[in-house]
């Protein structure tokens, strides 16, 4: 694969002022977000903050009321299958595999945009058909190998355990050869080992040169993984920055834990929680170990 030639810094995804209104409700308000190639960007926020809605705006499932989304400089089309063809693939928060298809067939469906054989080609079965079919199968098996499901290629996807269904969803998304992969809560419902394995998988995907945008509630996972994290609260982007910046931001803490009612006792509690969180973070995180000083005030 010719992945290492891609340099960091080229903008893959550029969302400007994305606003999504459902009648009177504004789910997403004026969000800007960029993702550069070779980057893993996290999107966090409390439940109902509009993360998945924002995702749906990026993938053409919703058409943003205002604002525009550009992928590698081109405005994205408004149909989700065209978005995938353009190079953005996604997974779903609640796994949406094709339950009654085999694992291999699921990945082959992901190859749909990168193959062209139509109805007549299928019925007439010329040499081109067999060649394309063989190539697709090879590529799909490679991807299954990559996520570690090659030995289950003939199983029905509904019979896979939960963690493997998530992996299969990622393999299926990768089959469309995306430049940007959107993961919607890829570790939901996973145990720590599975989460760790997913982390490794996402790093491996990044190393293939694919930019990743990930929604997640597991903070440890996010702060380990992401080069940059954006926080979405009530439809608006609150902060964006590296793990340390976001972790130390008072507004983020407030958004997750709520504002204290009274000054004195509430402040103390918040400080306690912060300290405990920071300690937990520094104990487990290898990378950002010494940033407790910066946490105090970085407005």
């Amino acid at each position: 694969m010719t992945t290492e030639t891609i340099t960091r810094g080229e903008t893959v995804l550029d969302a400007r002022g994305v606003t999504m209104r459902f009648g009177g409700l504004t789910a997403v308000r004026g969000v800007d977000l960029t993702v550069n190639s070779g980057e893993i960007v996290g999107l966090i926020g409390p439940n109902g903050a509009g993360k998945t809605t924002f995702f749906n705006c990026l993938t053409g499932l919703y058409i943003p009321t205002e604002g525009e989304v550009r992928y590698k400089g081109n405005v994205l089309p408004a149909k989700s299958f065209k978005v995938t063809a353009a190079g953005i693939a996604r997974t779903f928060q609640n796994i949406r595999l094709f339950a009654n298809m085999t694992v291999l067939e699921n990945v082959l469906v992901g190859r749909h945009t990168r193959t062209k054989e139509g109805f007549w080609s299928a019925v007439l079965r010329g040499p081109g058909f067999h060649k394309a079919e063989r190539a697709s199968r090879e590529r799909a098996m490679e991807l299954l190998e990559f996520v570690g499901l090659a030995n289950k290629a003939d199983h029905l996807s509904r019979n896979l355990p939960y963690g493997e269904q998530r992996k299969l969803e990622i393999a299926r998304a990768l089959a469309s050869e995306p430049g940007l992969l959107l993961l919607d809560e890829p570790t939901a419902g996973m145990n720590p080992q599975e989460t760790r394995a997913t982390e490794e998988l996402v790093f491996a995907i990044r190393d293939k040169g694919i930019a990743v945008l990930v929604i997640e509630h597991d903070m440890r996972f996010i702060f380990n993984l992401c080069d940059r994290v954006a926080v979405l609260v009530q439809g608006e982007k609150l902060v964006e920055g590296d793990s340390a910046t976001v972790q130390g931001d008072d507004r983020v803490v407030a958004a997750y834990l709520g504002e204290p009612f009274e000054d004195a006792p509430g402040d103390e509690e918040v400080a306690e929680v912060e300290a405990a969180e920071a300690q937990a973070a520094s104990a487990t995180d290898a990378a950002p170990g010494t940033d407790n000083a910066g946490k105090e005030n970085d407005r």
């Binding site: 993938t59 499932l61 149909k79 989700s80 299958f81 995938t84 063809a85 693939a89 996604r90 779903f92 949406r96 595999l97 094709f98 339950a99 009654n100 298809m101 085999t102 067939e105 082959l108 469906v109 992901g110 190859r111 749909h112 945009t113 193959t115 054989e117 139509g118 109805f119 080609s121 299928a122 019925v123 079965r125 058909f129 394309a132 079919e133 697709s136 199983h155 029905l156 509904r158 019979n159 299926r172 998304a173 469309s176």
Partner: protein, 608 residues
């Protein structure tokens, strides 16, 4: 656990450890009884069962089984063979790769049910059991003995499920009823068959040939049954007999072998089907054959739309109608406003193309809908076609279809100088008009099977299944849902149109009333859908078998009269309750077979 519940379990407790039969005969006696009963049953079919020929089938002769006796003879022979196999007789072990006991139970049940049905039918129709000859009593006793013996065979009882002592009487009754049902199910269930050994290729092909021969024999027998009693007896014997073979594991073995040689199997199936007219002495049943084939082919086309792409189309018969009308209009019929006479290939192209256009015209607006809405709209369009065809008679619209009189006197086809309307002699066999059309229709069926197989196993077929499984996810995978669905709709439509071009010539006349949504005569939209669902969605064999049954049963059971649709509804409900995946389950559904819980999820998907 309270004492109350345990005390009630005590009589059952030892039985759970040592396997025992359903009824209290020692199992070795039961086995002997079943096998011996089978032998005696076979012998008793050579006796006279009744004294008069008033009962159809002539059961009055000694030494020559006739009518229903033949069915009982087959059942008795099967029982005997399975009984011997259950003793482990060498050379018969292949008969029961999954254990002979459960199969023996079904075989004995098949024989018992057929024999007792016959005996009761004789007594009822002729007015009393005095009309039975000794043979009738003998067969009643021997089949009962064989069945009782088979029921005494041991089986693994299910684990007893303790009763909640707080339950009300009704709940306890429900609980015990469910438990007895579980026990009965366990008594009739078999183990998983041992895997089939690798036979040499020629032997496997011989097995396939044998399977085809049996299928042809059964089908020919069924289509040729001349009176109601025989057809009911045939259904009983064939149904339970097939269950017996299924439980013995033979069916699983045969399907494994056919799976290894898929192309040979499909070619073999077509050759077998082509042999059907040669088994007939006149055109009477070839007529049924060609109608079944038309019905089955259209059902198979519908299976692309419903089974693969998951689009519930309730107006599918309209496409058959468009094809038939188009072919009729260019057939040179005197009632066609166009005075043209196209050769068949051109007429077939015109019919398929007309249906294609009609399919795209209907599909383009309606396929934006999902699920139930699509079903309603297609139902509407199906009726619109029929009513329009009715009105294009020159008074309420342009004169095109000749209104409710339809286009009549459609001439017979003449392909390359071969007149399909005349009788031909092929190697001493008289091949009549309907047999000719049977062969032509078989070619069309082959085309549809080819299209179904090849498109199903390709990029486009996977896209169809993906759309069926989860449309949102399919869109997110880059599948242009609308386009792919429109292709499925158009392909299904043109295949139905192709079948329609032949149908127009077979029936001589094309009228709007042939293309109803629901009616007693197939093909109509409701029956087509039923054939697909009943046979098994997404399979080739399913709609073919479903269509044969749905055509033959109303055709043979004329005495049902006005209750035909009612009986049909009841049968459909029962089937959906007990076998939601259809008679021939899909490969995907076979994979999930070991998962009992998966079946209901399948149904909900088909409904949507």
């Amino acid at each position: 656990m309270t004492t109350q519940t345990t005390s009630s379990e005590i009589p059952d407790a030892p039985a759970a450890k040592t396997p025992a039969g359903l009824i209290g005969i020692p199992s070795h006696i039961g086995r002997a009884l079943a096998t011996g009963g089978g032998v005696l049953t076979v012998l008793s079919t050579f006796l006279a069962w009744t004294w008069t020929q008033d009962f159809p089938g002539d059961l009055t002769v000694y030494g020559y089984p006739g009518g229903l006796q033949v069915l009982v003879l087959v059942g008795g022979a099967l029982t005997t063979l399975l009984g011997l196999a259950s003793y482990g007789v060498k050379g018969l072990r292949w008969l029961a790769p999954a254990g002979a006991d459960a199969a023996l139970k079904f075989a004995a049940l098949a024989t018992f049910a057929t024999a007792w049905y016959t005996v009761i039918a004789i007594s009822y129709e002729l007015g009393g059991i005095v009309n039975l000859e000794p043979g009738g009593y003998v067969v009643a006793v021997t089949t009962l003995a064989a069945f009782a013996g088979a029921l005494a065979l041991p089986f693994q009882r299910p684990e007893p499920d303790p009763v909640d002592p707080d339950d009300t009487g009704w709940e306890q009754f429900k609980h015990s009823a469910a438990r007895s049902w579980e026990t009965v199910k366990a008594a009739f269930s078999a183990e998983a068959p041992r895997p089939v050994g690798k036979l040499p290729a020629y032997a496997e092909i011989l097995v396939i040939v044998a399977v085809m021969a049996v299928a042809l024999t059964v089908f020919t027998y069924g289509i040729g049954t001349e009176y109601d009693e025989l057809f009911i007896g045939f259904l009983i014997t064939a149904g339970f007999g097939f269950a017996a073979l299924n439980k013995s594991g033979l069916v699983a073995h045969a399907s494994q072998i056919t799976k290894r040689h898929q192309n040979i199997t499909i070619c073999g199936a077509f050759v077998t089907a082509a042999l059907f007219p040669f088994t007939q002495t006149d055109d009477q049943y070839a007529t049924l054959g060609v109608y079944i084939l038309i019905f089955a082919t259209v059902a198979l086309g519908l299976n692309i739309v419903v089974g693969l792409a998951g689009l519930l189309d309730l107006g599918y018969v309209a496409f058959l109608g468009v094809g038939a009308y188009a072919a009729a209009l260019v057939s040179g019929s005197p009632s066609s406003p166009f005075g043209v006479h196209f050769p068949f290939w051109a007429a077939a192209l015109v019919g398929a193309a007309a249906s294609l256009v009609f399919g795209v015209l209907i599909g383009a607006p309606t396929l934006r809908l999902r699920g139930d809405y699509l079903a309603i709209v297609t139902l509407g369009f199906g009726e619109i076609f029929r009513i329009t065809a009715n009105n294009l008679d020159g008074t309420s619209g342009p004169d095109l279809t000749n209104g409710s009189n339809g286009i009549s006197s459609i001439p017979n086809l003449n392909i390359l100088g071969f007149d399909l309307g005349a009788q031909h002699d092929v190697g001493g066999f008289a091949i009549g008009r309907f047999a000719n059309y049977f062969f032509l229709m078989l070619v069309i069926t082959a085309v549809v099977v080819l299209v179904f197989r090849r498109s199903g196993d390709s990029r486009i077929g996977r896209a169809w299944v993906a759309i069926r499984e989860d449309e949102t996810a399919a869109l997110a995978m880059g599948i242009n849902g609308f386009r792919v669905k429109l292709i499925a709709f158009a392909v299904g439509a043109s295949l139905a149109g192709l079948a329609g071009t032949v149908q127009a010539h077979v029936t001589y006349t094309v009228t709007p009333e042939q293309y109803l949504f629901a009616g007693p005569i197939p093909p109509n939209s409701a029956f087509l859908l039923a054939a697909v669902v009943l046979g098994g969605m997404g399979t080739i064999g399913g709609p073919l078998i479903g269509a044969s049954l749905l055509f033959l049963i109303p055709n043979k059971l004329q005495f049902l009269g006005n209750y035909q649709l009612f009986a049909f509804g009841v049968a459909l409900i029962l089937l959906m309750r007990f076998r939601p995946e259809g008679l021939v389950p899909n490969r995907r559904r076979q994979l999930e077979f070991h998962e009992e819980a998966a079946a209901p999820a399948v149904l909900s998907k088909t409904g949507a």
